[in-house]
Symmetry: C2
Subunit: 698 residues, 2 copies
Amino acid sequence: MLVNHQSWALRSLLGLALVVALLSDAQVRAEDGYDLWLRHEPVGGAAGSELNGITVAGPDSFADAGAEAMVSVALAELRSGLAELAGGESPPAAPLSIRLSCTDADIARGGAFALDGDSTGLTLRAGEASGCLYGAFALLRLLDTGERLTKIHHAEAPAMPLRLLNHWDNPDGTVERGYAGSSIFDWWHLPDHLDRRMIDYARANASVGINGVVVNNVNASAMMLEPRYIARLARLADAWRPYGIRVYLTARFSAPRDIGGLDTADPIDPAVARWWQNKADEIYAAIPDFGGFLVKANSEGQPGPGDYGRTHAEGANMLASAIGARGTVFWRAFVYAAEDETDRASQAYREFAPLDGAFADNVIVQVKNGPIDFQPREPFHPLFGAMRHTRVALEAQITKEYLGFATHVAYLAPLWKEVLDAETGHGGTVASSIAPAGMAGVANIGTARNWSGSHFDQANWYAFGRLAWNPQLSSEEIAREWLMQTFSRDPAFVSDVSAMMLNSRELVVDYMTPLGLAHLMATGHHYGPGPWVCDLARPEWNPCYYHRADKDGIGFDRTASGTDALADYAPSVAAQWAEPETTDPRLLLWFHHVPWDWALPDGKRLWPTLVEHYDTGVAGVAEMQAMWAAQAGKVDPRRHGDVTDFLAIQAKEARWWRDASIAYWQSLNGLPLPAGSAPPEHDLADYRARDFPEAPSD
Amino acid sequence: MLVNHQSWALRSLLGLALVVALLSDAQVRAEDGYDLWLRHEPVGGAAGSELNGITVAGPDSFADAGAEAMVSVALAELRSGLAELAGGESPPAAPLSIRLSCTDADIARGGAFALDGDSTGLTLRAGEASGCLYGAFALLRLLDTGERLTKIHHAEAPAMPLRLLNHWDNPDGTVERGYAGSSIFDWWHLPDHLDRRMIDYARANASVGINGVVVNNVNASAMMLEPRYIARLARLADAWRPYGIRVYLTARFSAPRDIGGLDTADPIDPAVARWWQNKADEIYAAIPDFGGFLVKANSEGQPGPGDYGRTHAEGANMLASAIGARGTVFWRAFVYAAEDETDRASQAYREFAPLDGAFADNVIVQVKNGPIDFQPREPFHPLFGAMRHTRVALEAQITKEYLGFATHVAYLAPLWKEVLDAETGHGGTVASSIAPAGMAGVANIGTARNWSGSHFDQANWYAFGRLAWNPQLSSEEIAREWLMQTFSRDPAFVSDVSAMMLNSRELVVDYMTPLGLAHLMATGHHYGPGPWVCDLARPEWNPCYYHRADKDGIGFDRTASGTDALADYAPSVAAQWAEPETTDPRLLLWFHHVPWDWALPDGKRLWPTLVEHYDTGVAGVAEMQAMWAAQAGKVDPRRHGDVTDFLAIQAKEARWWRDASIAYWQSLNGLPLPAGSAPPEHDLADYRARDFPEAPSD
């Protein structure tokens, strides 16, 4: 009998093992990147054992249904995440427990939480439900990255209140500067059908603290404000609310004319103000926690208050009044107008700085990280810290319009950290200047199964959220925790690949725009090099506007002898960049025009140094390829192969950037290459003739 | 010791059970439709047992590397498919075997195969490698649908040589008439990166016998013929070759001018012929088994030989000569020109019938199923059977441009069967008339995770392939086998849901265009009703052109007293439709204009019968909803919920079609509704005012 029983057990075991093998196989095949950093691979050993059979207990009563829904999400994420982390280990003799307390008066509201482990398990305390949500995801992250449940003592609070993704998604499903398929928002079937992807998207955002989403492009269609779109948006808002995410809309400033039947959109016109008031009321009736509006006004052909001789403040305040205390108006400072001869790097500063103090309390001015446009490297934007009486948010671009699209590995945390950590000269860093407002990231998300078009671009979504939550985190910490959750906890893997990530953005700078060069990409789609482009109607549409190279020298003089854009910065900051001799070489050609034989602080000349940067970039990509090849077997074959393919493209394109740039500079300066540096593979004419009408997302 | 061992086994079992539960959960979550009909759920019991431990043995030598690669795919599909079907059953005492013989002289070449089970397993014999490939998929299908391996005796041979998908995909990633996301072809990263989806796509096609793919839109960009696209296409061809799939390109007829530097595309010009000859040679150098070209010429603004006063035959033969014996030119008969006053239903016939015998041997004229354009119901196209000296292929539209996009459940096999089974009057059926050529289906495939945008639209992809392989299959057989493989083998489920599928297309006819009406969709995007549209420049752009309704009557007189399009048919067929009294009521208004009180064969009057059809359609969708609701628990919750949501949209849109159509007809005929029929929910003005600029794929 006993033998029979055992024999049955063993036979069943055999059958189960087979099923497990099959299911495992299915799971290996499913490793397509969809799960992002929420994979929760079993941790194994004693750490896994103590997660087995664990009980997770939530509070008994809730402030309201919203809090209850949010805590339910926290509990569900914990339960499924812990079960996945526990894997097949044996449970401990005395099962542990996790206790959630989501109305702890000792913890601040707004998302803060404290995790405290002890021999019986762990307590998660928060000031309100959102803190339990973020605490739950943080706990899973800590366990995913090797912490032992019972040893955890960890508290966090968000550094800034508003942490938003901006989607440049159009209602027709296209995505401006999108390299990851089409829009994830299936407006056509909303509100009747909610794609499951909308929930997984919310989970991913909540797990890194993102708490708002602007769903449509800054180059907006007024159609999104029509009733049928509001109904569609309401369904998204309902789905995302338990994940702590508020929905926002880009508002086309001319909407009262476009869809409202008025003959003006003048913000001073009472009928216009009334139209927006009614529109806001209509939206809030459908979405009580609607986040508010984002506006791109009087820039690149978009309508705005300037069309009626009104200021940005007059335009923004009219919308802010319509929304009232219910929400926020994000007003973009990215303005450059075809009529304006001012240095493009100065236009936003000169238009917005004088308006400091003129904006309503619920207006936030949204400023790009640098004064031009999401280049591989720019100095920080001079508006940060300069508007003492205005809330200013930082706009970062997660999608890599200027850094190799989705193909190139370019980990952006170091780029953002460079800006966040910069001293503004007005007392404090950029990070501290935006603390009362927040950060907005232009999403790199599309219908690609892995969300971002490439596996490594998931890291930029992740890093954006983590830095908006806590700009003190280092780029390396973020890379390491992302790698452990997304790929593997193998220490050698994490060490090698995080080093690759940390270096990757600088390599893009090296092979595209070293030494402070900028905006040399081919026009329109921004794919590949186009430094020779100089025949477009407006000066600032041309790469030659930005490099100003000729036979004698290169660089944009932004000092007093040039456009004096340098004067936009606080004196202590401007002083660092005033003289070419003392300017950080990484920004030299951003601020100065110098001869080709200019001596850099290390004594080397400009031209060979420039070539050296290009060569460093190309060689660095080859090193990335070799390093990644050595990781075979440490990650699943499919994702390993995908990355291998993309690195090969990156290597080819890095070489193209280097060769085309050098060929062009040589056509101007006639200088020979330094010894040991290979000549460009093709003639300049070949590079100039290349044409890519199919380049994505022009 | 024994006890300890058992205890260990039981504990491990517990652990494994947990893992299984987790993985099962993961698999349930992954039930997103990506696996199509290739899910291979375990069959259980004795049937599963005999698949356990089975050996699959292939031939030892191969005709060439291509055959070896194809047989390798067959073996791999069998091994993984059988392991999945076997599930966790115990293996039999003596494991069975499957033996492949892929060069059996008794079996025809071209894909035929024979399966013969016996007590030791099964033998798969084929005349060449492709037969082993199709036989392997057929064997898995038979096992999936309940056959016992050892009892199988089954032989098949394809009914027609060419079974193609036509993708209306543009190189920018958009898809004309695509309702399933954007294009699956990632041209941007090809040839350097091959998306895994390209392999899964090839598997799905091969499993239903599809052996060719036209990758780009019939409204083509000449860019696709440029060298960098040929390199990209070559990578796809290499990936698909082991699955028996040849690649084809739509060729823009003006390419010699667009990209060739010539100032003409006149097919009689020797330089033009030489350009195409060189282009074909360039393609064949990269893709030795390139399938050939598809051309849409002189239709809807596309360039063609008519631009130079040449015939379709002159244009097609010039391309055919460039390709030679290496491939095929598919020349579309879908022509209608803005200058031509001929009844649109007659234009293709009158232009092509006189060219019979003038086409080169490697030209196939590709004819839509009906004489207008993929309507819910049309009579068969009069060209079928009429071109006795020309190979003619049938073009079907799998994507549902006129049948509710991806949202409505409309199983299209009955529509295609209606045409395939029709007697042409020239001796034989439509199916027999295309047997020397084949079928082309306009794909409904996009980046949607479930490929087709809706779960039930996968059935149309499947049914297209199955009917092109064997037009004798019944719609019901195909529905049943698709359901068993895709959803569940539960007999009650299969019975209920196949009945729903079989009725679904007729319901669309009922609520959109009953009694032979056609093309009443809103213009451009074809979303929703627009029978009132009558103000567009060209007559045949207007729905009123097709219904010709006024206060006295409705319908298009295509008899001798009208446009005489009826004369395009063979006399025996035309006779059936010559008199309104004896015309099948399902086509009455296609061929005849009759008064509103026309008496139908059953004695009922036209107007109440028309309303009855609308009501039947609406009621039928409600029945589908109830039937589907009752299937909860029999299919995974996610797909069940997706279908439930879409059926609710379909119910709403069916009601809209009914109400708007009735309101419009009443505005013309002033007739009251029959007793018991509900008045339209809104005024006609409401329906006319509805506007959907965001409707997909206009």
